[in-house]
Symmetry: C2
């Protein structure tokens, strides 16, 4: 089960508009945009390695910051996340507390 | 061990400058700013309830979005996070991949 699908939260701080839109496109093509700079990717670890490499090619490692958070297998991940207020972008299975 | 200290990642999308700075102040006073809109709080679940209530008082739940991610007990949390590129704001114990 080493390459079982897991949920990864990815967030970025990228100053440059062009780099930011490139990274957003990569993350959005493999996952779900939860907030402006926060994405949820439900992928296999092997896929994460490829995405990490693509993102590393785009960023300026002196100024840009990418945080990757392994939330575990999908069921566990869903239970570990909740939203207050609006759930941006698109509805997901994540419970919302109004 | 029900109220054992855990690590929570909190991220926000808040349009209004005043609301945003109020929420940032709350989160920063209880945790560590990892990125512009992402914070790591190492707190007890009982404390999280109070912080949630304070944040809910500040936000406009129609437009603002707060994501709370329970990363588990601190040791587990440290292992589940990594940075690509710059680690914004202040160094933490989280490993960095250059």
């Amino acid at each position: 089960m080493a390459d079982e699908q897991r949920s990864y939260l990815m967030a970025y701080d990228i100053n440059d508009d062009v780099r930011r839109s490139h990274v957003a496109k990569i993350l959005q093509s493999h996952g779900e945009r939860l907030q402006y700079s926060v994405f949820l990717l439900r992928i296999r670890p092997s896929k994460l390695l490829k995405i990490k490499a693509s993102v590393e090619d785009e960023i300026d490692s002196d100024t840009d910051s990418i945080l990757i958070c392994d939330l575990g297998i999908n069921d566990h991940a869903e239970r570990s996340m909740l939203f207050l207020g609006k759930r941006s972008y698109r509805d997901t299975m994540i419970p919302t507390i109004i």
